[in-house]
């Protein structure tokens, strides 16, 4: 029998139905309730015509209902596609069109986005909307079914036909040409990581685990399925707490969390505003981060104040599922300049640092980082060309399934066998853990039709979000634009984390000798402290 992601919940529900599975604000859902509700939803979806392999888009912030929906979709043998509820309608439309689906499950504060989608008659004709909440749906939305209809369906598990090689979800990441790319992840991809992580971290049913990243981030799959595999309790972190670092700390304290996992910016934010006391969070056993580099000063801050916890850096792109390598920091770094390695490959994975001819580089030398192993996605959803560009046959292997993924990261392997991250080979940047292709921002700015030239560069800051997005622009002759008007206009096409925070108008962008935009010069212009330094 296939082992699918939803089976972990079913197992806990049969053995410990009263055990807590989810906590959100004052609400608590047991494994028994999670199992029963998701079985009902799966039956409802099947009844409505949802077929095996269908894509079901989720437009709903993280909530118990949304997690019930994820499990319900999997139990209906379909794939869930978590959309960023903070993205503008135009971008959400692109993702929905790209995954060619008929189903939207929505809930929470998504009224304007959902109404915006439904205002398009073509969308309304081709899509069925399910409203997950017990509250009335937003105005202008006529759902096919809603949360209250679930009660009429049986809570018994429906028969599943999926196998481990079938898709569990599609996650969209920024695309350099302006269209987000959908990464398809199978049940087996997620399972291999969870089956390494749960024993490695020693997760048990007594753990209380944070769910910090939003659901369209692949880290959230570790939060959910790592918790369910161990029968632990998942504490959903309300996203608005991200604004107030002391409230994040308060949640860790009050909920007595044993595991915190987030992008580095959340840890850095708490460190910058000094909200962690010495000996704080006595229950906390592990702190994990992934998505980008955690500044070493922030790591030192945490390790000094919470010496009873372990600290693990996880590394890996969405295309290789959650994480491919790990490094548990053995002792508090002695110096703020110390570089924390991305470490060693997780079981079933391999990290390869290769030169241009795909030969391994000697120890200590920079090369391109490739990943090989069971976590590799089958590829980008219905995009064989992009898939071929990023997933290559393993050199010298006769097996067609033996592939390597080109991460676009630069790295070296030390004589200690540990891999160190050394930057990007292209124009992708990380901001607050989000992968952002600068080309996607530039494409959206050009599409406004008010600029003659524009370029976006990422400038490292000492702020907690790592990289500041900076836009240099030249308005079209006779067109009056201001940073505020540009930002407002481009916000209709891009989510907030992709909006440039610094702007400079030019008569002409600086060029290199061969006529290309001089991005290095632009970075200097946007980093006055670097320029004025002696």
């Amino acid at each position: 029998m296939s082992r699918l992601l939803q089976h972990w919940v079913a197992e806990q529900a049969s053995r410990r139905p009263e055990a807590g599975a989810l906590v959100f604000h004052e609400r608590r859902l047991t494994y028994g309730e999670l199992e029963a509700q998701s079985n009902r939803l799966a039956r409802l979806l099947r009844d409505a015509g949802c077929a095996r392999g269908d894509r079901v888009c989720l437009l709903s912030p993280k909530s118990p209902e949304t997690i019930v929906a994820i499990l319900g979709v999997l139990k209906a043998d379909a794939m869930y596609v978590p959309l960023d509820p903070g993205s503008p309608v135009a971008r959400v439309e692109k993702m929905i069109a790209a995954c060619d689906n008929r189903w939207i499950l929505a809930g929470g504060a998504v009224g304007p986005t959902l109404a915006g989608l439904c205002a398009n008659p073509e969308f309304a004709r081709t899509h069925a909307v399910g409203w997950l909440d017990a509250t009335p749906p937003p105005r202008g939305v006529e759902p096919q079914f809603s949360g209250v209809d679930l009660a009429t369906y049986s809570a018994e598990p429906p028969a599943c036909r999926n196998s481990e090689a079938d898709g569990a979800h599609i996650l969209f990441t920024s695309g350099s040409t302006g269209t987000p790319k959908g990464v398809m992840i199978t049940h087996a991809n997620v399972r291999r990581f969870i089956e390494w992580a749960v024993p490695y971290f020693g997760t048990t049913a007594t753990d209380r685990i944070s769910a910090h990243p939003p659901l369209h981030f692949d880290l959230s799959t570790f939060d959910m399925f790592g918790t369910f595999a161990a029968g632990a309790e998942l504490h959903l972190v309300p996203p608005e707490l991200n604004l107030l670092p002391h409230k994040l700390a308060e949640l860790i304290r009050r909920a007595q969390l044993t595991q915190w996992f987030s992008v580095p910016s959340a840890l850095n934010y708490m460190a910058k505003f000094d909200v962690v006391k010495h000996g704080d969070f006595p229950s906390l056993k592990r702190v994990l981060w992934c998505g980008e580099v955690l500044p070493t000063p922030a790591l030192i801050y945490w390790m000094q104040r919470v010496p009873h916890a372990s600290f693990t850096n996880l590394y890996g792109p969405t295309e290789a599922t959650i994480a491919s390598s790990y490094y548990t920091v053995p002792t508090c770094p002695a110096s703020e300049d110390e570089v924390i390695p991305i470490g060693r490959a997780c079981d079933g994975e391999e990290l390869l640092v290769l030169d241009e001819a795909l030969r391994p580089t000697p120890p200590g030398e920079v090369g391109d980082l490739y990943i090989r192993g069971a976590g590799l996605s089958p590829g980008y959803w219905r995009d064989p060309e992009k898939t071929r560009g990023a997933f290559l046959p393993y050199p010298g292997s006769a097996s067609p399934g033996d592939r390597i993924y080109r991460t676009g990261d630069l790295a070296s392997v030390g004589s200690d066998g540990l891999v160190r991250f050394l930057g990007r080979a292209d124009s992708q940047v990380k901001t607050r853990g989000y992968r952002v292709e600068l080309g996607e921002i530039e494409t959206a700015l050009h599409a406004l039709g008010t600029l003659r030239e524009c370029a976006v560069v990422g400038v490292a800051t000492h702020d907690f979000d790592g990289v500041a997005l900076c836009c240099a622009y030249v308005p079209l002759a006779g067109v009056a634009v201001t940073p505020a008007s540009l930002r407002e206009a481009v916000a209709r096409a891009l989510p907030s984390y992709m909006l440039p925070s610094r702007w400079l108008a030019f008569d002409e962008l600086p060029k290199t000798s061969n006529g290309k935009i001089d991005r290095r010069r632009l970075k200097e212009l946007f980093a006055p402290e670097a320029v004025s330094a002696p």
Binding site: A109, P239, L243, H246, S265, D465, P483
Partner: protein, 92 residues
Amino acid sequence: MTDVRELETRIARLFAERLEVEVPSPDLDLFEAGVVDSLMFVKLLATLEEQFGFRLAFEELEIDDFRTVRHMARFVAAKRRSAEPGRVSASG
């Protein structure tokens, strides 16, 4: 009440001029609309401190005070009333 109205206008202008964001309505939920994220929030607090001459500590802040421009105007008005007279700077 006029005081709060004036403050709303002034805060909306700060958003446009200092944070480069046009806020269409004083009742727009800035968090739900994705206008304010953590980086923006820190800039916003610094701008309010500088413009209204008070000091804000994270520990005394509640999310709801910053949810809309109207809420912020009420918060600023209350903060100014409770501040010592000598600490309030008038220019803006």
